[in-house]
Amino acid sequence: MWETVAQAVINGLLIGGIYALVSIGVTLIFGVVKIVNFAQGEFVMIGMYISFFLANQFGIDPLLSLFVSMPVLFVVGVLIQHFLIRRVLGPNDMPQIFLTFALSLLLLNLALMLFTANYRTVHTSYSDEALHVGGLYIPVAKLIAFVVAMALSGALWVFLHTTDLGKAMRAAAQNRDVAMLMGINPDRVFCVALGIALALAGAAGSLLMPFYSAYPFVGQVFVLMAFVAVVLGTLGNVIGALVASLMMGVAESLGIQYVGADSGLIVVFAMLLLTLAFKPSGLGGGRAR
């Protein structure tokens, strides 16, 4: 009995690490630039296709292609902030919401045109390996993904708290006007925030590739999860998003175990609606940190 529960919790935590990379990106952009990036899931999708093609054409291990997908998506993020998002920042919600929403539609449908709706998988030597610890089953690929995801999240936390640029980003998130008065260049900070957020999405894509199929709609699963985790973890709060993502992963996994195989999404929506009903400011409460 406890083994089934423990197994479900472990499965949830492992996939929750990937959700965390996506949510941290969403919450970072929301905290610093004050917009919601509806296209965040599509960048996970792009990260997956980058890893898929590198593995397929050059036989590069998806985990190594992390060193390609992250820098590529960092640059894409900077370009998107500089050429698109910068132009719609202002008091008006409509252009901000629908610009990134249009970007999401565009990338998704371009992928559909270029790559078709077929599922693409990469088989690695460790794709089928698993550790057996006290009756529990831990797939190696998922464990690696989780560990790398946590390491990247930790690295981001260190960056935000110890470097000048990281502190500038936190300052811009807390109070943009005061930060500007202190000499922080908001354009530069915003570009870096977008770059980091997209690099994290790209990392999520590469980490997923050894055990998950790439297809044009794959990002939708992750972005939905991220939006809920970001509300649950209090908007703009990086640690909140991390903890909430792990919780979401566990909740989804328990739902699959005890309610039914396709009930994962129902659990997610139920969590979102319950959060909205009882704790709209998120579990962290108060201000974004």
Partner: protein, 330 residues
Amino acid sequence: MTSLGLSTRTIVLLSVGIAILIALPLVVKSSFAIEIFIRILLFSFIGTAWNLMGGYAKQLSLGHAAYFGLGAYTSTILQIDFNISPWIGMIAGGLVAVLASLPIGWLCFRLRGPYFTIATIATAQALMLIFLKFRDLAWGAEGTTIPNLGSAPLMMQFETKASYYYVVLGLLVLALAITWLIERSWVGNYLVAIGEDEDAAEAIGVDAPRMKRDIYMISAFLTALAGTFYTQYIYFIDPATAFSFSISIEAALVSIVGGIGTLWGPVIGTILLETTSTLLQSWLGSSIGGVQLTVYSLILMAVILWRPTGLMGMIDEARHRFVSRKPVQA
């Protein structure tokens, strides 16, 4: 000036326009063309319903498929299980949508801006999942066909496409009339005030939560009518069509491209988008998935970056420049 405050010129233009629309199916005999007209009228109608809340009050919902689906399912269940005419089912569907908009609104209006949008997406998706999962409720994932009774106007079934055309034309006229009445009353002003700055509107005494709730009910009611019409028109219903995310997207898209918060914006936006989509399909064939939405999203991005007021904004500018020779108001 007449009692409604319309100028003679407007009345003449409107009469001519309505006469042309009524005559259109009598002149155009191609059923392919009529099908396209029906699509344009249908999405103009859905867009107009969305625009009431999304355009004037700037509550940017991407979950209107929830009401489209509720309308479609209510009338279909009443028709198949209880043999009640879809004309009555349509109104019943509208009322179900109004009731559903109360708890959904209560939840979603707790959030503002983009997070309101996300919450509306989630509610529509949750409703789709409910209809997928609970097979006892309504046929589960495979859906059902509507029994074809041949020519049965009382059951909203017609032999010619032209009859459907007139039904949806009537719906669009109704929605435009409601929008027109709201736009020129204090309600419209209050909604625009909420859309501009909700806190400021509340500070000067606008009851924002009540206004948002009421306009959401009207918008949901109208969207549900479209759901019933569409199901009767295609003789089929399943959760994936009835609660399709693309309905929610297109409702918002046609309004934004045409001109958000304007009376004619959704109509003009639909004419542009549907015509583009038809031309693309005849040019490329429907073989490549994703072409239509790729083009839609490019048009949407172009509008947002260069003309946030949409096509109506461009038309107004052109009119100011060429007709009245007055400087353009920014």
